[in-house]
C-alpha cells in the first residue's frame, strides 16, 4: 500500500512538472506572437465571440433571479432599496467571475480540448512538427492568450447584463425605487475592492480554465475515446479548480 501511495505521488508530481513545463513553454512561445496578432485575433473571435450568447443570456437570467431572491430577503428587514447594491456586489465580487468561468469551461474549454485533441489524433500536430513549426507556438499559445483576454471581458459583460436583469425585475417588475436602486449601487460598490478584485479573479480563472483545456487536448490519447475523456476532464478539473481558486482568492481579498 505504501509503495502504491508512493507510486501515485510520483506520478502526480511527474504530471504536475510536465504541466508547468508546458505552461512555461506557452509563456515563452507566446511572447513571440506580438509579431503575428492575427493568430490571436482569430482565436479571440472563436473563443470570445462564440461564447457571447450563452454568457449574455445567462447573465440576464442570473440577474433576474438575484433580484427576486434579494428582494425576498431584504423586504423582511424593510431594506429593499439596498437591492441594487446587493445585486451589484454579488455579481462583481462573486457570481460574475465564477459563473462566467464555469460557462466558459463548458463552452470554450471543451471546444479547445476537442479541437487540439483531434488535431493530435489526425497527426496534424506531428505534421506541424515535421514542417519545423512548433505546435506550442502555433496552436497552443494563441489559444491561451485569447482565453486570457476573453475571460475578463466576458465576465464584465456577464456582470453588466446581470445588473440590467436585476434592474428589470427589481425596479420594473417588483417596484423598487429606481433612484434608490442605482444610488445605493453607486455609493456602495468600490472600484478597486469590488470591481478590481472581480476582474483579478476573472483573469486568474481565465488562465486556469484555458490552460487546463489546452493541456488536456495536448495530452489526450489520440483516439476517439481519449479525446472524449480529455473533454470530460477539462470540464471537471476546471470547474473544481475555479471553485477552489475562488475560495483562495476570496480569502486573500477578504478584509
Amino acid at each position: 500500500m505504501i509503495s502504491q501511495l508512493g507510486h501515485g505521488v510520483r506520478a502526480w508530481l511527474n504530471e504536475m512538472g510536465f504541466a508547468f513545463r508546458t505552461l512555461w513553454a506557452i509563456f515563452i512561445n507566446g511572447m513571440g506572437l506580438w509579431k503575428r496578432p492575427r493568430l490571436i485575433t482569430t482565436q479571440l473571435h472563436f473563443i470570445g465571440n462564440y461564447s457571447l450568447v450563452i454568457i449574455l443570456v445567462s447573465g440576464l437570467f442570473v440577474g433576474f433571479v438575484l433580484a427576486y431572491q434579494g428582494y425576498y430577503t431584504l423586504n423582511r428587514y424593510g431594506s429593499e432599496e439596498a437591492l441594487g447594491l446587493l445585486v451589484a456586489l454579488s455579481l462583481t465580487r462573486e457570481l460574475g467571475p465564477v459563473i462566467t468561468a464555469l460557462l466558459f469551461a463548458g463552452r470554450a474549454g471543451t471546444s479547445l480540448t476537442a479541437e487540439i485533441g483531434l488535431m493530435k489524433a489526425g497527426e496534424q500536430l506531428a505534421a506541424m512538427e515535421m514542417m519545423a513549426v512548433n505546435p506550442i507556438q502555433r496552436v497552443l499559445a494563441p489559444r491561451f492568450i485569447a482565453g486570457l483576454i476573453a475571460m475578463p471581458v466576458l465576465a464584465i459583460l456577464f456582470t453588466a447584463m446581470g445588473i440590467w436583469g436585476g434592474y428589470l425585475v427589481g425596479v420594473q417588475l417588483v417596484g423598487v425605487d429606481a433612484g434608490a436602486f442605482w444610488s445605493q449601487m453607486q455609493g456602495g460598490v468600490d472600484l478597486r475592492d469590488d470591481i478590481g478584485n472581480g476582474i483579478i479573479k476573472s483573469i486568474v480563472f481565465g488562465i486556469a480554465v484555458t490552460f487546463i483545456a489546452i493541456y488536456q487536448g495536448y495530452q489526450a490519447q489520440p483516439t476517439p475515446d481519449g479525446v472524449s475523456r480529455a473533454t470530460t476532464r477539462t470540464v471537471v478539473i476546471s470547474s473544481l479548480m475555479v471553485l477552489w481558486l475562488d475560495f483562495v482568492l476570496t480569502a486573500l481579498m477578504f478584509k
Binding site: 488535431m119 489526425g122 497527426e123 496534424q124 506531428a126 505534421a127 512538427e129 515535421m130 514542417m131 519545423a132 513549426v133 512548433n134 502555433r138
Partner: protein, 244 residues
C-alpha cells in the same frame, strides 16, 4: 540502414514491425533508446530543439492519412509551410502554391476544403505540402494504404517523378509489395524491429528468405504465424487436459 541520395529506399514489413518508428526516429519525433540517427551527416535530436527544427526544414514527411489541416483550404494547406518560414509576397506565394498543386494534378482543387476531397487527393495535397519548401529528404508513411488502384498508381508515379526531378532522397514505408517494388531502388525488410533482409526489388523477388517469401507471396502462414502466439486451441477448449 543507409538511405543514399537520389534513391528511393523502401522499408517494408508487417504491421508492428517498426517501419513508422524508423520515420519518427529520422524526423526526431522520438529519440532512440540506443544508437544514432544521422541525416545529412548530422546527428538528429541530440542538441537543442531549435537545431532540430532547423534540420527538419530539409525534410518533408507524408503522413499515412495526409494529416491536412482540416480548417484550411487545399491552397492554404500547401501555403502553410511557406507562410511560416518565408516572407514571400502574396502574388509569388499564390503562383508557387499553384505550381506545387499543378505538380500533383490538383491545381483546380485549390479552393476546396480537405473534407471535400477524396483520400487519394488528400494524400496528393499532403505531398505538395511536403515538398513546398523543397526538402532534400522526403519520407512517405504508407502512401498507398486505403487507395483505389488508380490513385495508387498516380501516387507511385508522383513519388518516382518528384524524386528524380528534384534530386531527393526518398524513404518509402509501405507494405504494398507491387507498387513499392515498381518504384524503389532498394528495399529493407523489417520484422519485430530488426532488418531481416535487404537488396534491390529483383533480388528480393528471388530471395529464399522465408519471411521475404511469405511477405512477397502473401502466404497465410510462415515465420509470421496466422495464430497470435499463446495457448493452443486444445488447451483453451480443455481437450486432453485433466479437470480437477
Amino acid at each position: 540502414m543507409q538511405f543514399p541520395r537520389n534513391k528511393i529506399v523502401a522499408v517494408m514489413g508487417g504491421s508492428g514491425s517498426g517501419k513508422t518508428t524508423i520515420l519518427r526516429l529520422i524526423g526526431g519525433l522520438i529519440s532512440p533508446d540506443a544508437g544514432q540517427v544521422r541525416v545529412f551527416g548530422e546527428a538528429i535530436g541530440q542538441s537543442t530543439s531549435s537545431k532540430l527544427y532547423q534540420q527538419r526544414r530539409n525534410m518533408g514527411m507524408l503522413f499515412q492519412h495526409g494529416a491536412l489541416f482540416t480548417d484550411l483550404s487545399v491552397f492554404e494547406n500547401v501555403a502553410f509551410p511557406l507562410r511560416e518560414h518565408t516572407n514571400l509576397p502574396e502574388s509569388l506565394m499564390h503562383d508557387l502554391v499553384l505550381l506545387k498543386l499543378n505538380a500533383v494534378g490538383l491545381r483546380n482543387a485549390a479552393q476546396l476544403k480537405p473534407s471535400e476531397i477524396s483520400g487519394g487527393m488528400a494524400r496528393r495535397v499532403a505531398l505538395a505540402r511536403a515538398v513546398a519548401l523543397d526538402p532534400q529528404l522526403i519520407m512517405y508513411d504508407e502512401p498507398f494504404a486505403g487507395l483505389d488502384p488508380i490513385s495508387m498508381g498516380v501516387t507511385a508515379n508522383l513519388i518516382r517523378q518528384l524524386n528524380d526531378a528534384l534530386g531527393l532522397t526518398s524513404i518509402l514505408v509501405s507494405h504494398d509489395v507491387q507498387e513499392s517494388f515498381a518504384i524503389a531502388d532498394y528495399v529493407y525488410f523489417l520484422s519485430e524491429g530488426t532488418v531481416v533482409a535487404q537488396g534491390t526489388p529483383t533480388e528480393m523477388l528471388m530471395s529464399e528468405h522465408p519471411y521475404v517469401q511469405q511477405f512477397v507471396n502473401a502466404y497465410v502462414d510462415g515465420p509470421v504465424p496466422f495464430h497470435y502466439p499463446g495457448k493452443s486451441l486444445a488447451q483453451d477448449l480443455g481437450i486432453g487436459v485433466a479437470h480437477d
